[in-house]
């Protein structure tokens, strides 16, 4: 059963399945295109990317194969240019930089960490500019009953839980951004690579053998990172919004097998306002969206140390929230 579809909105790229994707071009053609710049769509956004090195084309081809190419004249929400480090340093020949629209160096990094820094730079660009949305720092997935929002502090295990759930029947909308435009509360997907970190890499490799990981990148400011590709469905349906029904505040706690605690509405509202990147900037509209979301969802705190048990509990909570399951049977 497909999840709850509200409406389609995004850049005018047509059906993702029909549009030309990054993988539809060979690596040589992609490399040639990257010299002048490639534009591709991710949910409601268009990203422009430029770079001279062939290795960038290879990484794009491997990590973002199904993202649709966008017309060269499409407005870009973020323009990123990857280049050799112009500065002199001990390892200048193997370091890279990313520049944004102003031409200034935004970040410098070893060549093997290019994908990690592309993803982090894009996070920064979207979080600081896309104020047409109220943006929660929250993972978001959907199933047949509606949307599941997972707000969490860094290190709470949000991406790991998203990675597991998206291979267990949930459609990934994003592991990082919950995008809400107005009080209608449709959630706009923004499906990206999932940065799985440190010990969680082995956990997901073991529990989700079908997971498609990129190479491990050691020594980043967040430790070792490996990027996980979303399942094809998440990309193919990245213009289908979902309706929020459940809000879960997850925390991985090694000593707690499973603990689910209801979160009162007032606390839920406070959490939403503190979690949103741009609540203050959105003004009264931000207040109204946060209030509408508070009233729409059922909210719980989830402590867990076992992904499978947590996933089962979330399946049950979502079915209960939808009214498809008797809560007394939990």
């Amino acid at each position: 059963m497909r999840d709850v579809v509200q409406r389609t909105l995004g850049p005018d790229l047509g059906d993702s399945r029909a549009a030309s994707s990054l993988k539809s071009r060979g690596i040589d053609a992609l490399h040639a295109m990257l010299r002048s710049g490639v534009r591709y769509g991710i949910g409601p956004f268009v990203v422009a990317l430029k770079g001279q090195q062939r290795v960038l084309a290879e990484r794009l081809h491997a990590c973002y194969p199904d993202y649709p190419l966008a017309p060269a004249n499409e407005f870009a929400d973020a323009s990123l240019a990857v280049a050799r480090n112009p500065g002199l340093s001990r390892h200048w020949w193997s370091t890279r930089v990313i520049r944004l629209e102003d031409g200034q160096v935004f970040t410098t990094f070893p060549e093997n960490a290019t994908i990690a820094h592309l993803e982090w730079t894009l996070n920064w660009a979207i979080a600081n500019r896309s104020h047409q949305f109220l943006m929660l720092h929250a993972g978001v997935l959907a199933n047949a009953y509606g949307g599941l929002i997972l707000p969490a502090e860094p290190g709470a295990g949000k991406s790991t839980l998203c990675a597991y759930l998206m291979h267990r029947g949930w459609r990934l909308l994003s592991d990082e951004f919950t995008l809400l435009r107005d009080e209608g509360l449709e959630i706009y997907p923004f499906p990206r690579l999932l940065p799985i970190k440190n010990a969680a890499i082995a956990v997901i490799r073991e529990q989700v053998p079908e997971a498609r990981f990129g190479p491990e990148i050691p020594g980043t400011h967040k430790g070792t990172v490996a990027h996980l590709q979303p399942p094809d469905e998440a990309i193919l349906r990245m213009h289908e919004t979902a309706s929020p029904r459940l809000m879960i505040f997850p925390r991985y706690t090694p000593d707690t097998p499973l603990e689910i605690t209801p979160v009162p509405r007032a606390q839920c509202f406070v959490e939403i306002t503190q979690n949103a990147f741009n609540y203050v900037l959105r003004g009264e509209e931000g207040f109204r969206i946060a209030a509408a979301l508070t009233e729409r969802v059922r909210a719980f705190q989830l402590r867990y140390n076992d992904l499978e048990r947590a996933a089962t509990a979330l399946d049950d909570l979502m079915a209960e929230a939808h009214g498809a399951r008797d809560p007394s049977r939990r």
Binding site: A266, F287, A291
Partner: protein, 91 residues
């Protein structure tokens, strides 16, 4: 003179459980009010509260069992609401 809602302020209010949240479009701030603060704010929003007659109006409205303690607490609440910019002493 009377206690009034601050001029220019447009307040949006939501209540859940025992908590009241007020968004003030003039300051752009969101305030969390407890029960008594929310009730006094609602009273002033309904109609300005004459400054000289504040104690009488509050006692008439809320009929507290311990009037002195209630009035002392209410004065502190009014000062707090004034400090937050939600109410003002208007001529």
């Amino acid at each position: 003179m009377a206690w009034t809602i601050t001029q220019h302020a447009t307040l949006s209010v939501r209540q859940w459980d025992d908590a009241t949240f007020v968004y003030d479009s003039f300051s752009g701030r969101t305030h969390y009010l407890n029960g008594s603060a929310a009730e006094i704010l609602a009273l002033i929003a309904e109609q300005p509260l004459p400054l000289a007659d504040t104690d009488t109006a509050l006692l008439r409205e809320f009929a507290p069992s311990e009037p002195e303690a209630f009035l002392a607490a209410s004065r502190r609440v009014l000062e707090l609401l004034e400090h937050l910019g939600l109410v003002t002493r208007h001529a």
